[in-house]
């Protein structure tokens, strides 16, 4: 049965419906790497949850419909998602931009899907808060999507669980029913609970399930998330940022292990020289391959003394490892780094330029395996004659440095801008797949599978896949949501 747009019009105003194929193609299909995605049949721009709920209930009656939920509007597009299906109907949440609750005392806020990192950072600042943001989020990237994607954030000591900073959520399942997780579910209304002091801090339940964990990471295949509450942090009253430049990851890893377990450093991560120079154009001179940046923050309670003792304790650790920190590196000062730690991005973004585009392979492993992985990947790249100066590395310890997000960003030539066979986009994708295969065989784990690595990510997880499919049948019985994504 084809879509009856009259029915859609009952739910949405005219300005909230997009049917023009050209506009649809331009907005949702044309990407710098692939223009073959099927044009959607329509897109809608809901402003509230009940619209979405009614819409989904209706779309369930449409045979072969494939509903895609979009929250980010990043340009240029270079996504590799599943838009090879036909009969795509888009629910575009980018206009749901409310930040409806900011509570400094409880370090929490509530955001709708269309809120971007820069928008959120600005609003939170007014309340003395900052978000727990990922590294260099792209302009237009949805906060909610980042968090649902389990993107790592910069402060491992604050991350007790992979789901952080996610707290509660509201979701419309693929059957159209509305659900709220954690304390947002009730009993009693959120408003009543709020009057009693609640602040949407408890993500668990209700009862004996954590549905939020099923929605997170599901890439819109189980439901459409319409808001989340999320953990925030205070803006530090004082902060010290240090750099360590070294040619081997291992001692840097030792530093991270020793400090994060003792909660001595706040934001901490490692990038390579290529990425450092891409982020900080003012950087000059030679650099050793790896740059570790760490911050020590002071807040309300004796911030100067906190920073002082933590710095000295860190220095003791560094002495034992024979590492020397510096207050600046290659002309880059603390002031240049600080905005990045608080959720801001850079422009131009290292992942793309007019002639290049990043092919990202990221996965999880442990920090003590990273050096070995990098060495093997270097070999792999050399084998394919891929220039190492086009490799960006981002190493982010997560869950208090018990695991690590390891990201290889291969800067490829955009289609039409090829300079070399080994850096052509398609070739680099091939290299990326080989890299993914290596990762899997050496203890790498694709907690966040995406198209390039999908074929590898699910290998060996048959029982797990079966479980996910059971959940899919519950929440999206007609399989209308993002068909083909993940293992569905």
């Amino acid at each position: 049965m084809p879509i009856e747009f009259d029915r859609i019009s009952e739910l949405f105003e005219e300005t909230e419906i997009l049917k023009d194929p050209e506009t649809l193609k331009r907005v949702y299909c044309d990407s710098i790497v692939n223009n073959s995605a099927e044009t959607p049949v329509a897109a809608v721009f809901p402003k509230n949850t009940s619209q979405i709920s009614e819409l989904i209930k209706y779309l369930r009656t449409i045979e072969d419909i494939n509903v895609l939920i979009i929250s980010s509007r990043t340009e240029p597009k270079f996504f590799e998602d599943t838009r090879t299906n036909s009969n795509i109907f888009i629910i575009d949440l980018t206009k749901m931009k409310k930040i409806s609750f900011v509570n400094k005392k409880n370090k929490v806020c509530v955001v709708e899907p269309g809120v971007t990192w820069s928008e959120l950072t600005k609003i939170l600042k007014e309340s003395g808060l900052r978000p727990r943001s990922p590294f260099l989020p792209r302009q237009g990237k949805s906060v909610l999507t980042s968090i649902l994607d389990r993107e790592p954030h910069l402060c491992p000591k604050a991350q007790f669980d992979i789901s952080d900073p996610l707290l509660c959520m509201e979701v419309v399942f693929g059957n159209g029913e509305i659900f709220r997780t954690g304390e947002a579910a009730g009993p009693r209304s959120m408003e009543e609970n709020r009057q009693a002091g609640a602040a949407l801090k408890n993500p668990l339940g209700p009862g004996q399930t954590d549905i939020f964990r099923l929605i997170q990471g599901s890439k819109g295949t189980y439901g459409c998330c319409t808001w989340i509450s999320m953990q925030c942090d205070f803006i530090p009253t004082k902060r010290i940022i240090k750099f360590i430049n070294y040619d081997n990851v291992e001692p840097l890893a030792d530093f991270i292990y020793a400090t994060v377990r003792r909660r001595l450093v706040d934001e901490v991560f490692i990038i390579n020289d290529n990425l450092f120079k891409a982020i900080f154009p003012m950087a000059e001179g030679d650099l050793k391959r790896y740059i570790l940046m760490y911050a020590i923050n002071g807040y309300e309670w004796l911030p100067d003394e906190k920073i002082e003792y933590q710095m000295e304790d860190c220095n003791e650790i560094l002495n034992q490892i024979n590492l020397i920190p510096s207050e600046s590196l290659a002309n880059v000062q603390q002031s240049e780094v600080e905005p990045i730690l608080d959720g801001q991005t850079v422009d131009p973004h290292p992942k793309y330029s007019e002639t290049t585009i990043a092919v990202d392979i990221f996965y999880n492993t442990t920090l003590d395996r990273v050096q070995n992985h990098i060495q093997i990947v270097d070999e792999l790249l050399r084998k394919h004659q891929f220039p190492l100066e086009r490799l960006n590395l981002y190493i982010q310890p997560i869950i208090q440095a018990r695991a690590t997000h390891l990201e290889f960003s291969l800067i490829a030539d955009r289609p039409g801008f090829e300079t070399n066979l080994s850096t052509a986009y398609e070739k680099v994708c091939e290299i990326g797949r080989e890299l993914a295969e290596f990762a899997i065989s050496n203890g790498g784990f694709f907690s966040r599978p995406y198209k390039l690595v999908k074929e590898f990510a699910f290998k060996g997880h048959e029982a797990y896949i079966e479980g996910l499919r059971k959940i899919k049948k519950i929440f999206d019985p007609d399989a209308i949501l993002n068909r083909g994504e993940l293992c569905f």
């Binding site: 309300e300 060996g460 997880h461």
Partner: protein, 545 residues
Amino acid sequence: MNKENLDSITKTMEVIVGKRFVCADPGILDTYAFNWNADNLSGGVSKFANRPLCVVMPEKTAEIVKVIKYCNQNKLQFKAMSTGWGVHNTVGSEGVIQLDLRRMNRILSLDPKNRIAVVEPYVSGAMLQAELFKYKLNCHIQGCGANGSQLATVTSMVGQGWTGISTGFSNRNVLGVEWVMPDGTVCHLGSWGNIAKKKQNDPEELEIDASEWFLADGPGPSLRGAYRGYFGAFGGLGVFTKAAIKLYHWSGPEQLELQGNSPTYNLKGSKLPAGVATYILNWKTWEDFKEAGYALADSEVCWALCRIAPFITGLGIFPSNDEFYEKYEALFGELKYNLMVITMADSKREFKYHQKVIKEIVMKTNGEIFPMSQDPFFSAMTFMAMAKQCNTMRGVFRAGGGFFTSLGALGSWDWCVEGAKIGEQLKQKAIDSGGLVDDGADNVWGTPYEEGTFSHLEELYMYDITDPESRKASVEYLKSVVEAAQEYPLGLGLGTVDGEGSAMHAIFGPLACNYHKWLKAIKQAFDPNNASDPGFYLDPEKIKD
């Protein structure tokens, strides 16, 4: 069930686990029917809940798989338990095969660098901790004490704990599990899943390396969300046979040297280890207490930050009720809204900072450092009790033998304190009628977790379990708690735990986004034959669509 059928079942079980590890003797089975809080479920009449059909004691995952498959094929039910404390370990109805996982008691692997341990079900907090201090590591131990199972708390139970400010909440302390699903499928969650497949076909031959169990979630959505929420499934959704547990930094010594004899163990010389300070901080009003709680959580200086009411503090410290009676009022009478704080430091400068912050917060929130908490003997015993988690039983059970929990919020600290006020009022009524121990009415216990991610406070209560009237009072009080949880804006309180699962869900589901319908769907999807005992989980047959 007739004898012939029972014999057939037990014989099959004997083939799977060995004759010695199966028992269907009613007297033996009664030791599985009897449990803490069974009296509340029976209207105060009996400490026995349901008797299982037989008890089976497997040693390996493969044996559990066989038992489960047999149950599915023969329309039987099974329920696993590990350390087995609490009526939620009992079978939900007669005719269920009880799996006692006592033989699965290995610490399979430790990775001190990445701070991960992989354990089997019968590894308690005390057993694990005994192997961790030497690596400068510790684990989160759930509130009931170090005799509880580490695996059960992260997969199947609740998971609050005294040191939650630094060691988190059990739900969030898992990095991987081996889950034998209700149909007998073995599912490895997380990073170990793929490696497991690659290594061997026989799961029993898999070599366990904790460093491979670093993430429980994915690929894609996390099935952790299917098997538990605030509470676990209490055995209603299969069996967990391995779990990777997060370990935390321990600033203390490799071994805590003790002196004395039971029940008055203390640290040797009543001396706190270097870098450790303990406090009981006291405020006169809920408001100041509340503000201080926020400040202490935000300050990041606490290793333990816990509200333990004066009454239970006294019961826990004194080795007998007689001594408690003699000394409690004089020593603890001035305590009102108090918090126990322990700081642990690795360097002198860190220690100095911690103490300055504590004092600053106390001053700014109109609090005081309770003088007795600085007494070396008391201070050392407090630290010992918190580090080893060894005094919970004494603090809550010795008074009258009857103990349970009631109301309390899990969320913001503000909300928790509101809950505490309501709980206090409700309990006062029950105390006034004489049936419950008069603990001052305010007996909330709880803590902010993870430097303030969320907090919880729960209203504890005690009664004389040997006195039928006191037991009745407990039953009546719990009924009022279930009503109050519906009436007051406090979230799903813990007093609703250990109720018959479906009955509780039928009440609270409609009040909370009909979560019970989704729970039912999950149960039906993963357990189509309802083979996993749903007694304290959800029985699809008892929940209307």
